[in-house]
């Protein structure tokens, strides 16, 4: 009998034994595709008939949400089938009778394994494709399917197949490494989530023990877990019309690498099947010699998880005792549970102590590494001479200008915070000033590393009144990035001077001010509405011409470029500007972009030209900021018993004197790194009703604080 014939025969025989997974796949994907398609179809036809949506828009929606990556039911179904088929197909390895049966007949072990392996893929994918075709036919019956839609569906199918394969091969590997189905499930969990767990633990320990840790919001661990990898491969460009819908090159490359990894895992598994002892059936692990290694690999993160768990309930003063307690508990529990699973015997919980001790020693060494900061994470800086560029993110400058992260969301497969974008993109070449900040940050970290009984990450502002947190990136020639967050005293003259020089650079400004970062796009934007906001009070200008938009952006760009750090110490913004863009129309299709709001930036009193243009466009920004519009000011004071003893200031002269020193309490925080304000007492500025547009009548109160004039 040829091996090919033998393989096909074994596939047929294996399929006969796997009727229920086939039925499950057919039923599951029947609901995920044809039934969902019928539901969507009815909905779309109604929308079309009532004129709520265009045909093109509905074609896009049907393709993306029923056939494409946004059909969550189908993706969940594929994930479930990957796990189920792997375990069901490989369960013959876990049963002694079956192992004897297949081991004694004239068939190579790999023939049986490969037949079960391939069937596991076909059992999921063939019903999937069949039901997807039915859904396509349902959509096509009412014209919701286009050629582009089918192409996108096929692209999705290819990427989903890759995602399926990585989960499937990992679980198959877990099945081959173990001799019992329940242990295989647990091993599948370990293989799938161990690496991300390790990464999360490392970050947690850094967070516990390193004061200068820069915590990136970007999730870097998704590619270490087959399930999140599957989901991330499928993040697509689904905004805009079908012609713009597709997958980023990055996804395709990730999928290609994932496919290669899946093939490598398959080849390893295939080799393991050849050497896997048949007597492993019914035992916990297939390869006795791997037991101590796997035990140590699992025990370390378990112990470290417990080590991090107990201190998380403390206020920081008792971190070390609870860390030690958690590590000991984790080591003992981890050791006992793994030994019990290994031998399926509770009494075996204290067997094989030496490997447990090895895990304990390694865990202690790792914990000590963090506690004593052996590498100088908090206190050492990269060699100045090897640093070629840097980035500085100061949350206390132009704070609250969120939007760039969201704006980039469509281009990247993950959300990036403003700080992440700034830390990655800013390219300062004058490094000396950055090192002034970094050294000051290290000095602070040295001082507070052994503050109390644990590193103190929470700054005491009463002891350190001028301190602010900044984040910076130092890059060497090979592109390696050193990222830290430091507390620095921005009132210190040397630091302020360094900050001022950094602030004045184009690189810093372009990564701090939206209007400078995206000048060209904002100048050419097709604006529907210009929105001026002052702490909830909004004025708008409609139907703005492109020429006016350009004029406005040019003025704001020029006046933003003229800002200095000294000026920001003295003045707070008086408002905030945002564009509402006209719905983006693609040439071929009338599909609207999902997000039309575009932040432009804060407006300062020095923006006379910008404010003048806004006034020309019908936005009377001065109406609110003119002391003549103030009816009275309430100085909010409470006695020790909490009784309201506020003072009403109605005298015009007093108002004229006080008003220039009052700033909106929200805007007082925009540049909190350099701008100082007295928050107690605060003030309520009551404007005259006539000064407020009719529709905003009643909300003519502004909550303010008094600014502090900088020394010198």
């Amino acid at each position: 009998m040829t091996s090919k014939r033998s393989f096909i025969d074994m596939m047929r025989e294996d399929l006969r034994r796997r009727i229920w997974p086939i039925a499950l796949a057919l039923i599951g994907f029947f609901f995920a595709f044809p039934v969902l398609a019928l539901i969507k179809l009815e909905d779309h036809v109604n929308s079309l008939n009532q004129g709520l949506d265009s045909l093109v828009s509905l074609q896009h929606s049907f393709t993306v949400y029923t056939l494409g990556p946004n059909n969550g039911f189908a993706i969940a179904g594929l994930m479930i089938m990957a796990v189920l088929n792997a375990i069901h197909g490989m369960k013959y390895l876990h049963n002694r009778q079956e192992a004897d049966f297949y081991g004694s007949i004239p068939v190579l072990r790999t023939t049986k394994f490969n037949a079960a392996f391939v069937n596991g893929i076909l059992i999921a994918l063939l019903p999937y494709i069949l039901m997807q075709i039915l859904a396509v036919m349902i959509g096509a019956s009412r014209g919701f399917i286009t050629g582009e839609g089918i192409l996108f569906t096929v692209e999705t199918l290819v990427l989903e197949t890759v995602g399926f394969l990585i989960i499937y091969t990992v679980i198959v590997l877990a099945c081959v490494l173990t001799g019992h189905t329940a242990v295989a499930v647990a091993a599948g969990g370990v293989l799938s989530f161990a690496l991300p767990s390790y990464m999360v633990l490392i970050e947690a320990y850094k967070s516990m023990f390193f004061i200068t840790l820069y915590e990136e919001t970007m999730n870097k661990t998704w590619y270490l877990c087959p399930f999140t990898l599957f989901m991330n491969i499928l993040v697509s460009k689904t905004d805009g019309g079908l012609s713009q819908t597709g997958y980023h090159l990055k996804n395709v490359l990730t999928a290609a690498v994932t496919l290669v990894i899946s093939i490598v895992i398959y080849l390893i598994t295939n080799k393991l099947v050849k050497i896997r002892p048949a007597e492993a059936a019914g035992k916990s692990m297939s390869f006795e010699k791997t037991k101590p290694f796997i035990k140590v690999i699992i025990m370390i993160p378990v112990a470290m998880t417990f080590g991090a768990f107990f201190p998380s309930f403390t206020n920081g003063s008792t971190t070390y005792p609870w860390l030690v307690f958690g590590l000991i508990v984790g080591i003992i529990l981890g050791h006992a549970v793994i030994e019990i699973i290994y031998e399926f015997d509770f009494k075996a919980c204290m067997h094989h102590i030496p490997s447990g001790l090895v895990a304990a020693v390694i865990t202690a060494a790792v914990a000590l590494f963090f506690v004593f900061d052996f590498t100088g994470y908090d206190t050492k800086l990269p060699d100045r001479d090897k640093t070629v560029s840097a980035a500085v993110f100061i949350p206390g400058i132009e704070n609250g200008m969120y939007g760039r992260g969201y704006a980039l969301y469509g281009e990247e497969s993950y959300y990036m915070s403003d700080s992440d974008i700034c830390m990655s993109n800013m390219n300062l070449t004058d490094i000396d000033d950055v090192y002034v900040l970094a050294r000051a940050g290290c000095d602070y970290a040295k001082k507070y590393r052994w503050h109390g009984s644990a590193p103190d990450k929470n700054i005491d502002y009463e002891d350190n009144p001028g301190y602010n947190q900044i984040s910076l990136t130092l890059r060497n020639a090979s592109g390696h990035e050193y990222k830290r967050s430091y507390y620095i005293d921005t009132k210190d003259a040397e630091i302020f001077d360094a900050l001022s020089r950094i602030y004045s650079t184009e690189a810093f400004r372009k990564n701090t001010y939206e209007v400078l970062a995206d000048t060209d796009k904002l100048q050419d934007a097709d604006v529907n509405i210009i929105r001026y906001d002052s702490s909830g009070y909004t004025e708008t200008a409609d139907s703005v011409s492109r020429k006016d938009t350009k004029r406005l952006v040019e003025a704001m760009t020029k006046e933003t470029e003229a800002l200095t750090l000294d000026y920001l110490r003295e003045e707070a913004p008086i408002g905030y500007l945002e564009f509402e863009l006209k719905p983006g129309i693609t040439p071929e299709e009338d599909i609207t972009y999902y997000d039309t709001n575009r932040p432009v930036g804060y407006l300062y009193p020095s923006y006379t030209e910008t404010l003048s243009i806004l006034k020309d466009l019908g936005i009377d920004v001065r109406e609110r900021n003119d002391p003549g519009n103030v009816d009275y000011v309430l100085k909010l004071i409470y006695d020790d018993d909490g009784n309201d003893i506020s003072e009403r200031i109605s005298d015009r002269a007093e108002i004229e004197k006080l008003f220039p020193d009052l700033v909106n309490q929200d805007y007082a925080a925009v540049n909190y790194a350099v701008f100082e304000a007295i928050h107690v007492p605060s003030y309520e500025v009551h404007y005259k009703p006539a000064s407020i547009r009719e529709e905003y009548e009643g909300s003519n109160v502004e909550f303010c604080v008094q600014k502090v004039k900088p020394e010198g």
């Binding site: 033998s6 009778q97 004897d100 004694s104 050849k274």
Partner: protein, 300 residues
């Protein structure tokens, strides 16, 4: 021919088969005897290519067994707990086996199923333990392999069925090149079928003997002497292995040539003298007793 040389198999700290060397000749029924845990199943699983020896090697017709389909086509393994597919019928199992064994005889399968009165369309899960054993044997014999390995296969068969299976084995052996290897913990089960027997104990092979050779050298003789005869000097001249007296009936197990033994005993003018066939148990007593083993503790 099957040859096992210094075969050892360990499961963790337990040595299941310990340095076994054994040759199984073709065309003879080989019985592998031993108590539970003696290593019979482990030895047969190694013989079937399910397990690999930790030390030593086993060859079947000069071929390696493990991962060698060509070699595996030569034998059929009936495990002590035979595996049948979930919800499968006998026909489905037959169809499966027929794909892997090139000489599979479907007609013989049908004929045997009818002879044994087993329903081919009935789910095997509804069969009794004995019926499953019968089915395993039918499926195995229909494969027409050169060797069949039976692990405790006769356990659970009623005496009639046991006899029928033995007849089938005898018939196959007379018609074709066929060698059954039968493992059992029950001596009497194998008594009238085995040509050669190997005795496993605690993983080691105590003995492996051709029963005809043993029978040629050891004899069981019952004799009655006149009451006034002093037969003790006669017995002293014989190599008596066992001597039992019940009333006037003396039962002797004696090593030596039958004629010589009878001639010596005839000198006592016995009123009755008869040769009886040796049971397997008696053969083991004779073979292992000299080596200091208490066979009754080993086998029962």
């Amino acid at each position: 021919m099957i040859e096992a040389n210094n075969v050892t198999k360990r499961f963790g700290d337990l040595t299941a088969v310990d340095d076994v060397t054994l040759t199984i000749e073709e065309g003879k029924v080989f019985g592998l005897i031993g108590t539970n845990g003696a290593g019979k199943s482990t030895f047969l699983r190694m013989l079937s290519g399910v397990l690999t020896p930790d030390e030593g090697n086993i060859d079947i017709d000069d071929m390696k067994i493990f991962e060698n389909p060509e070699c595996k086509e030569k034998f059929f393994f009936i495990s002590d707990e035979a595996y049948f597919f979930l919800n499968a019928t006998s026909d489905e199992m037959m169809r499966f086996y027929s794909k892997w064994y090139p000489s599979y005889d479907k007609e013989r399968y049908e004929k045997l199923m009818n002879s044994f009165g087993l329903d081919r369309k009935r789910k095997i899960s509804t069969f009794s333990k004995g019926m499953k054993k019968q089915l395993s044997i039918i499926l195995g014999l229909s494969a027409k392999t050169k060797y069949i390995f039976c692990d405790e296969t006769f356990d659970g068969l009623d005496p009639v069925m046991r006899q029928a299976v033995k007849s089938l084995f005898a018939s196959d052996m007379s018609e074709r090149d066929f060698t059954p290897i039968i493992a059992s913990h029950n001596l009497r089960e194998l008594e009238d079928i085995c040509d050669t027997v190997g005795l496993l104990h605690k993983g080691g092979m105590l003995m492996s003997e051709d029963l005809d050779e043993v029978k040629g050298d050891v004899h069981k003789i019952q004799v009655v002497f006149p009451t006034d005869t002093d037969y003790a000097p006669l017995l002293d001249r014989l190599r008596v292995l066992e001597n039992e007296k019940r009333g006037s009936l003396l039962t002797l197990i004696v090593r030596g040539q039958e004629k010589e033994i009878k001639d010596i005993l005839s000198e006592g003018s016995p009123v009755f003298m008869e040769s009886l066939p040796l049971s397997l148990e008696e053969i083991f007593i004779t073979s292992t007793g000299v080596e200091g083993y208490d066979i009754k503790k080993i086998i029962y």
